[in-house]
């Protein structure tokens, strides 16, 4: 599941997946899940993108957000087989617009075993706030995306099953291990067979009604790798939809670890933001 960080960057992976498509042997469920997770959140050592977010409510009223997102993985490995690609991850989200949130920063240290650390820097109040990690399924800055859609949901949080294999997709169903901690009862994911990009994710509520849909709308090749450059999240209950456009995408730019610290909240790393 996800949206944010789909800048794909590893050529061998693509070739492996192509090979699979040719031999037509469906990988097992865990394999698909981890490949999709890898493609969605963990490709490359680091990455950067400029994001234009357009939030449209059910009355057609629009709001915009514009921000830069920086990502850095702790792990140097890209290996799926030994799950070597997993590991801690750091995100730095710097807001440009609307102008009243200019210079606002959202910093995340994604952990593997414990709750994530999140900070929010509010320049107008000159305030750095830790955000308690009790619930990741709250809105991300008023959009239809949840914080968890942005940072990635842990693969271990759900049970997975392969519902079916179509010409182009593996259709997976994910059921939460702790249903009380989430608002959905399960979600279905359409994973592209060749690229392992999750192209569509559908969330179902306790009545079995579909109420949230994430889509990948556009994939471009960046630095030789396929990258989702347009994505959307629709909330069928509120009638709201959020669309994100990624531009200026680049990978493996050598982001230093130190910029993902509290110190850089007040003094943004201007050089790395563009």
């Amino acid at each position: 599941m996800n949206v944010f960080i789909r800048w794909v960057g590893i050529a061998p992976l693509l070739m492996i997946s192509l090979a699979w498509a040719q031999t037509d042997t469906a990988p097992d469920v865990d394999e698909i899940v981890h490949r999709a997770n890898h493609v969605a959140y963990f490709l490359g050592k680091d990455g950067r993108a400029q994001v234009q977010m357009l939030i449209t409510d059910n009355q057609g009223r629009k709001r915009q957000r514009s921000f830069t997102i920086l990502r850095r993985d702790d792990s140097d490995s890209e290996s799926i087989d030994d799950r070597g690609y997993l590991g801690e991850q750091k995100l730095y989200v710097y807001f440009h617009r609307p102008s009243d949130v200019n210079k606002m920063v959202f910093l995340v240290h994604k952990k593997t075993d414990t709750d994530d650390d999140r900070w929010l820097y509010l320049p107008a109040l000159d305030l750095v706030k830790r955000i308690a990690a009790s619930d990741k399924r709250t809105s991300f800055v008023g959009s239809d995306y949840f914080y968890e859609d942005v940072s990635g949901r842990s693969v271990d949080a759900d049970d997975h099953e392969l519902l079916k294999t179509t010409d182009n997709y593996y259709v997976l169903r994910h059921t939460p291990k702790d249903p009380a901690s989430v608002e959905f009862s399960y979600y279905d994911m359409y994973v592209h067979k060749e690229s392992f990009i999750p192209v569509q994710i559908e969330f179902y509520d306790t009545n079995g009604d579909k109420y949230r849909v994430a889509r990948a709308l556009k994939v471009e090749t960046v630095q030789g790798y396929p990258t989702v450059t347009e994505a959307s999240m629709e909330n069928l209950k509120t009638g709201g939809v959020t669309r994100m456009r990624y531009s200026q995408v680049s990978y493996d730019i050598g982001l230093p670890e130190e910029i993902f610290t509290e110190r850089f909240l007040r003094a943004p790393p201007v050089n790395y933001l563009r």
Partner: protein, 890 residues
């Protein structure tokens, strides 16, 4: 005399062809009833099924500005009508804040979420409870300190608590959030209220019934109360129809029994009943066929048509009862009776019709329909009375009438109690006219004083009897919570269409260009932008159009640009956005500080229990950002700080809640007021309070404040009702007076006939003022009824007096005759009708009780005024009044 001839011919026709008259009546009634009812079951061209409309909002036309404004703002702020479900526990020391009660409340919330159905109009859309906007412990966010330096958004009650301590912690958290304290959690901490927004208030009854069924097996300690204007209004609609089916027949039965007692012959007494029934059926059938909905007002049509329909028939029966023993021949008796009564009956009918038809002048559509159709019903009743009653009597074999009639026969020899009593009244009032007059003037004085005390007020919840569960729920919940009556205040800054400020843009551009060049961006993009700005300034564009145009241009350029140019364009977008944000009035500290003052002013008014707005959101989040300290519960100092507070709020589970209070462009805000009373006078007090505040505290940015919400709409239609009723009453008063002058061909007699009516209306409204009964919707309608009924007795009395004077030579000689049969007819009439409507008192709906009491009071008062005051006045003015009568005789 033309009318007399017409009368005689009509009566002769009925007497000669009784069977045809009866047959035609039955057929017309059946056909109309079928045409009205069948389209509800089968689709027919041009005909509509019976439609029921129980929405008091429809008292105002759909195009009424206040309704358009209300609907528009409901859309803008995504507001729904709200059902309030209160759960109170008086037994547990912590109220409902114990694991068992909270588990039930959690389950009830989950159940309420399922109360949606595919819409009947559009199966793709769901209707029912709006889940995303529900306010319940498990659906709202808690914002609080999550430890040092952290802020925490979490569901207030993600799952039901397991321990007493956890249950109490939920209360403490909720009470710390102004938005929830007094709204979700009662201030005494004992009760919880769920707010269920619904897609249409016409679903209120269905949803509240489902909720009541769901909680029916809860044990005694947790009591559930359901209220809110939508529930009151929709439930009233449902119960109204049940009442129609009980009250109207009960009234008919009472009238029937009294008539039977007065006139002995069952077979004769049936005829007025038939007239009443047929008139009601025909009227309602015509109402439906003409495509009108059955509304709260029009459902009362039968209740009004029935007494008026039997009125004339009672005069005929009474007269027939008294004269039959003289002739012992029904045909001859009828001819005589109808001849004597035709003119007064025609005129009483016309005046009654005028009274009701005048309601068509009010600006309230359902009242117009009501007035016009009651007038049609009255006319139908008259037609039936002069044709069907004689025909019906002719169909009774003469043998069955044997020994029928009044013992005393011709008036003056009446020795029954009633007869002697009436004679005494006649003698008394004509001998001491001065005393009567003085007493009347005294009454007028008291009435006038009473009228000054009238309190104009209404409240649909109070249409239910005190013991009704909605009234109980209303009382309990408004004691515990901020209030179950919703009103909203829309705030919009004055539309300013200022000219494009090129200089501002250019000067900001200059400073940005400098710092951009310093940080290594090229100045080419900035130069290109400057050119666009200058060329745009050549044209006559407004600031907002210019900003939009420039933003579009920059976005296009940015999409094409790569590398550093991308960031230069991005920098320019920030510049434009900064200028645009100065138009975001509701992010400016001065605006929010003013709103805060406005709220505090309104809260000082005892009727406003709670106000929720952007102000509370900003203050609460600001406080939690700053370590939860009480001093931080304030509006931040800059618009950027407000913007950042608001974006923090939007990191919650329900960011869309913000858009109930402000539009995303921050140029239109909304205050949600919870009132503890739905009384119009209380809403009016709040309105007046706001006006005072606005006068003393001019709004920044020329902000215009306007009310909407159901509680406010009720005030608007009440205003229209009161002024509308007054003009329509004055109008019909003038018309009736003119008719009287024409009928009696004398200004004096015309004026005289209006006196009992005037006294009655004055007295009724005087009493309403004195006893402190609110002047509400039913009371307003009654003025039309009193006009129609009260003048009738005077017409009969004056017409018969003139006749008696003509026959007996002088007023003095005529008095015993007048207080014979005519006085008896009036008295019987008054007793039958007055008593006939008392069963309405048993109804659990207050408007029915009001109508019952006041019809009885109007009839009694009009009867007394006619029998006591009229003779006294005639005594005083007889010289002028009977001048031509006696002249004619000579």
């Amino acid at each position: 005399m033309a009318t007399k001839m017409l009368a005689d011919r009509a009566v002769y026709f009925a007497l000669n062809h009784p069977k045809s008259v009866a047959r035609v009546m039955v057929w017309i009634t059946l056909v109309l009833a079928l045409v009205a009812v069948v389209p509800s079951f089968v689709d027919l061209p041009y005909l509509k099924p019976v439609t029921v409309d129980t929405d008091p909002e429809n008292m105002l036309s759909r195009e009424e500005p206040v309704r358009l404004f209300h609907d528009h703002n409901k859309d803008v702020f995504a507001l729904s009508d709200i059902i309030v479900v209160g759960v109170v526990n008086e037994e547990h020391p912590q109220g409902v804040f114990n694991p068992d009660s909270l588990r039930r409340i959690y389950d009830l919330t989950e159940y309420a979420k399922t109360l949606t159905w595919p819409s009947a109009v559009d199966p793709d859309r769901q209707e029912g409870v709006v889940e995303v906007d529900m306010i319940a412990p498990s659906t709202v966010d808690n914002i609080e300190q999550g430890g040092p330096g952290t802020v925490n958004f979490s569901w207030l009650m993600a799952t039901p608590p397991a321990t007493e301590e956890a249950a109490i912690a939920i209360r403490e958290r909720a009470q710390n959030i102004p938005f929830l304290n007094g709204t979700l959690v009662s201030e005494d901490g004992k009760a919880i209220a769920l707010y269920l927004p619904i897609t249409s208030k016409t679903l209120s009854y269905r949803i509240s019934t489902a909720l009541r069924d769901y909680v029916s097996d809860w044990d005694g300690a947790d009591q559930v109360f359901i209220t809110g204007l939508p529930v009151a209004e929709d439930t009233f609609g449902v119960e109204m129809f049940i009442q129609m089916a009980i009250s109207a027949p009960l009234a008919m039965l009472t009238i029937f029994l009294l008539l039977w007692w007065f006139f002995k012959k069952l077979v004769l007494v049936v005829s007025p009943m038939i007239v009443a029934m047929v008139s009601s059926i025909v009227t309602m059938a015509l109402l439906v066929i003409s495509g009108n909905t059955i509304h709260i007002m029009s459902s009362m049509i039968p209740i009004f048509v029935m007494p008026i329909a039997v009125l004339d028939a009672i005069h005929i029966l009474s007269e027939f009862f008294d004269r039959y023993p003289v002739h012992k021949d029904r045909r001859k008796t009828l001819q005589e009776v109808m001849h004597a009564l035709f003119a007064p009956m025609l005129f009483t009918t016309l005046t009654t019709m005028a009274g009701f038809a005048s309601l068509a002048l009010t600006p309230i559509p359902p009242v117009q329909v009501f007035g016009v159709f009651v007038a049609i019903g009255v006319f139908t009743a008259w037609l039936l009375t002069i044709l069907f009653i004689p025909a019906f009597v002719m169909l009774i074999p003469e043998s069955k009438l044997e020994g029928y009639g009044h013992v005393g026969s011709e008036g003056e020899q009446d020795h029954t109690l009633l007869g002697r009593f009436l004679q005494a009244i006649g003698r008394g009032s004509t001998r001491r006219p001065g005393w009567v007059l003085a007493l009347t003037l005294l009454l007028c004085g008291v009435s006038a004083y009473g009228i000054t005390l009238i309190r104009i007020n209404d409240n649909p919840t109070k249409w239910f009897d005190e013991r009704h569960e909605i009234r109980i729920a209303d009382r309990v919940l408004n004691e515990h919570f901020g209030g179950t009556y919703m009103a909203y205040l829309s705030l919009i800054p004055a539309a300013v269409d200022e000219k494009f400020e090129m200089e501002t843009v250019l000067s900001e551009l200059e400073s940005r260009r400098k710092s951009a060049v310093q940080s290594g961006l090229s100045s080419g993009v900035y130069a290109q932008f400057e050119e666009s700005v200058r060329s745009l300034a050549q044209r006559d564009v407004s600031q907002s159009d210019a900003l939009e145009h420039l933003t579009g241009q920059v976005e296009e350029a940015m999409a094409e640009a790569g590398g550093d140019d991308y960031f230069a364009w991005d920098d320019l977008l920030l510049l434009l956005d900064g200028i645009r944000q100065r138009q975001e009035v509701f992010k400016q500290p001065e605006t929010l500080i003013w709103m805060d003052a406005l709220q505090n002013h309104l809260l000082a008014n005892g009727h406003v229990g709670k106000i929720n707005s952007l102000v509370d959101v900003v203050k609460t989040v600001h406080r939690e950002l700053l370590l939860g300290s009480a001093e931080a519960f304030r509006i931040p100092d800059s618009s950027n700080a407000i913007g950042q507070t608001l974006i923090t709020y939007q990191n919650s589970h329900r960011p869309q809640d913000l858009w109930h209070f402000v539009t995303p462009d921050y140029r239109h805000a909304n205050l949600w007021l919870q009132l503890t009373s739905g009384d119009n006078q209380d809403m009016e007090a709040v309105i007046a309070d706001l006006d005072r505040f606005l006068a003393d505290n001019p709004a920044p940015y020329g902000i215009d404040a306007e009310w909407f919400g159901l509680t406010y709409i009720n005030v608007v239609w009440q205003d229209k009702m009161v002024t509308g009723m007054l003009t329509s009453f004055l109008g019909s008063f003038a018309v009736v007076l003119l008719m009287m002058v024409v009928l009696f061909r004398s200004v004096l007699a015309g004026v005289l006939s209006m006196i009992p009516l005037t006294i009655t209306v004055g007295l009724i409204y005087g009493i309403i003022g004195l006893i402190g009964k609110d002047y509400d919707m039913p009371v307003a309608i009654l003025s039309a009824l009193s006009l129609g009924l009260a003048v009738d007795y005077a017409i009969h009395f004056l017409a018969r007096s003139k006749e008696a004077v003509a026959r007996n030579g002088s007023w003095k000689a005529a008095i015993p005759h007048v207080f014979g049969e005519p006085a008896r007819a009036i008295t019987r009439n008054a007793i039958v009708l007055g008593a006939g409507f008392l069963p309405l008192l048993a109804a659990p709906l207050v408007p029915y009780q009001t109508v019952g009491v006041f019809i009885a009071a109007i009839i009694l008062s009009a009867g007394l005024a006619t029998l006591i005051l009229m003779p006294a006045l005639i005594q005083l003015v007889q010289k002028w009044l009977f001048a031509n009568v006696e002249g004619e005789r000579q």
